[in-house]
């Protein structure tokens, strides 16, 4: 891999993208074999992996829009990374097609006419939870994401070669409309794809819960991607310990936010003690799901909290990158914990397809990301705040 540090351009992207694509395609072929042997398990694993990579993309969209909305300077060095993640997000629609074609019946029991016929609650919900409207909604989410991702990315690339100062303002304007639609689409996507796997159950805070995980995912991705770039001699002087410290602070803050939202969701259901709500947590407290839930509490909140509370660990890159990788892993566990107990009610049941679908979608995601990222300057070279961002210091 070669890098021209004068124009911030990767001149030779190396074989990373191809390796990643190879792993992705191979893993998807293996997953297809899995589909032929056990279609149910395939779609359960597939939904977890799909939701994991989509939430990472959505986190990227939120990070980019928040950057524009607050006119931040510290995060300008990370903007191109988060923009590229956002740019890849709408392409994940191709991975929704298998769910659209066959997965709905494997994943969502509200899609079976005979189940609805004997279930009054699902009859009442069928105006919203039906196959056609489900697909229309998903297409709509991806269209909205496509519009904002493309708009923000195109404007940003335009800024690289233009002296037009109004581009910053235009990105801000798109971000303000985009932020509102982001909040709505991430909530409803979470309701549709994840919450409706158990269609009797409902939680109004569920969208916020998924958002908390998404933002953690992009923060960890930024730490890991920056670390990867620096390992290849890219942006070694530009991304400093001060930037990592800020990502660490946000990680720490959103670890608490995640726990706060998860706690709020649990707490209200625990207090009210209504059977149709508590059943969801009961499934997650039965058999081997109980240690899994405890693992989630400690691994996703307690341990990262104790480690990241210290300033020294946020400023120590090897600690921070380890924590980032750990939290990203815990984000996967979180999604797994949301989806799987509905299908395996008596205990954790790992499958090799968990891994292959994850690597399949992930390999292609990372490969597309790298192709896009290495084709353009790695930072928004003409952004008026870029120099200030390089010299950013924590007070």
């Amino acid at each position: 891999m070669k890098f021209d540090s004068k124009i911030y351009q990767i001149t030779q992207p190396g074989s990373f993208g191809n390796i990643s694509m190879g792993i992705g395609v191979l893993a998807l072929i293996l997953s297809a074999v899995g589909y032929l042997t056990n279609a149910g398990q395939f779609f359960h694993s597939y939904l977890v992996s799909f939701a994991f990579w989509v939430t990472l993309g959505l986190g990227g969209m939120f990070f980019t829009m928040l950057h524009h909305l607050t006119s931040s300077t510290w995060s300008t060095v990370f903007r191109r990374i988060s923009e590229t993640v956002t740019k890849i997000l709408p392409l994940l629609f191709i991975f929704f097609i298998p769910i659209m074609l066959g997965g709905i019946h494997e994943l969502y029991h509200w899609s079976h006419a005979d189940v609805i016929a004997n279930d009054e609650l699902l009859q009442k919900k069928s105006g919203y939870l039906n196959e056609v409207f489900f697909i229309i909604r998903t297409v709509l989410y991806f269209l909205i994401w496509f519009f904002f991702a493309t708009k923000l990315y195109t404007l940003s690339i335009l800024q690289d070669t233009s002296d037009d100062a109004s581009l910053t303002q235009r990105m801000l304007k798109f971000s303000s409309a985009g932020m509102i639609l982001f909040a709505l689409t991430i909530s409803f996507a979470a309701f549709d794809w994840l919450m409706s796997t158990d269609a009797h159950w409902y939680s109004t805070i569920f969208g916020v819960y998924i958002f908390a995980g998404s933002y953690l995912a992009i923060l960890t991705f930024l730490v890991l991607a920056s670390h990867f770039l620096q390992g290849n001699g890219i942006l070694n002087k530009e991304i400093t310990v001060e930037h990592f410290h800020d990502l660490g602070k946000l990680l720490f803050g959103f670890i608490i936010f995640w726990a706060y939202i998860a706690g709020s969701q649990y707490f209200l259901i625990w207090y009210a003690n209504i059977p149709e709500e508590t059943i969801w947590f009961l499934h997650r407290w039965e058999g081997s799901w109980k240690p899994m839930s405890q693992f989630l509490m400690f691994g996703h909140f307690v341990i990262p909290f104790i480690i990241l509370v210290f300033r020294a660990s946020k400023r120590n890159l090897s600690v921070l990158k380890t924590m980032a990788a750990w939290i990203l892993f815990m984000h996967y566990v979180d999604i797994y914990w949301i989806v799987m107990p509905t299908f395996h009610q008596h205990g954790v049941h790992f499958s090799w397809m968990d891994l292959t679908t994850f690597l399949g979608i992930g390999g292609i995601f990372i490969s597309l990301f790298w192709r896009q990222f290495s084709a353009k300057p790695v930072v928004p070279v003409n952004d008026p705040t870029l120099q200030k961002s390089f010299g950013f210091m924590n007070v």
Binding site: G263, F267, W270, N273, R311, M393, V395
Partner: protein, 179 residues
């Protein structure tokens, strides 16, 4: 008989003030302070200041607050006056979390504010720099000052004043009061 309390020197800009602070730090002065109309980035490092211990004070009181909150609820709900509320067990720890969290935050906030006062030696009703006629009107407007206190181990009125002049200070005053 006048008793010296410290020395005050005026500087022309934030840059010269920073330069003076670095010089004082490198020459072993400990009890000195810089006064400016606005905060100056990097001044803490230039003055050789260590990180404040406030974080540890806050952590201690936050944990104490959390323990008090959790302890009081557990004791009163499950030992002192056990009572069943909406079918929950006597020791319903889930319901204690909110108050525990709130007391954790409350104690942390109080520890932060009052700990900051204590570490800053506030409230302080008087300081020798106010004996200077030039200091008060200028320091909130366009003046940059260094003050060195008499209890600094390296303090000696005349030589300290000369040193401040040598690093660019003007209007150097020895602050005194009647003994």
């Amino acid at each position: 008989m006048k008793k010296p309390l410290g020395v005050l020197a005026e500087f022309s800009s934030s840059a010269t003030l920073m330069y003076a602070a670095e010089n004082l730090r490198d020459n072993g002065y400990k009890k000195f302070d810089c006064h400016s109309p606005f905060p100056i980035h990097g001044m803490d490092a230039a003055m050789g200041m260590k990180r404040s211990h406030l974080g540890f004070i806050i952590a201690f009181f936050a944990i104490l607050g959390g323990l008090i909150g959790f302890g009081l609820q557990s004791w009163s709900h499950s030992i002192a006056y056990p009572i069943i509320i909406s079918g929950k067990p006597y020791f319903a720890w889930q319901s204690y979390i909110i108050i525990t969290f709130e007391l954790f935050v409350l104690f942390a906030a109080f520890a932060a504010v009052f700990g900051m006062f204590k570490l800053n030696r506030l409230p302080m009703f008087h300081h020798p720099v106010f004996y200077s006629d030039r200091f008060s009107p200028k320091v909130t407007n366009d003046g940059f000052y260094v003050s060195i206190e008499a209890n600094d181990p390296k303090f000696e009125p005349d030589s300290t004043a000369d040193f401040l002049k040598s690093i660019g200070g003007s209007n150097v005053e020895i602050l005194e009061e009647d003994a």
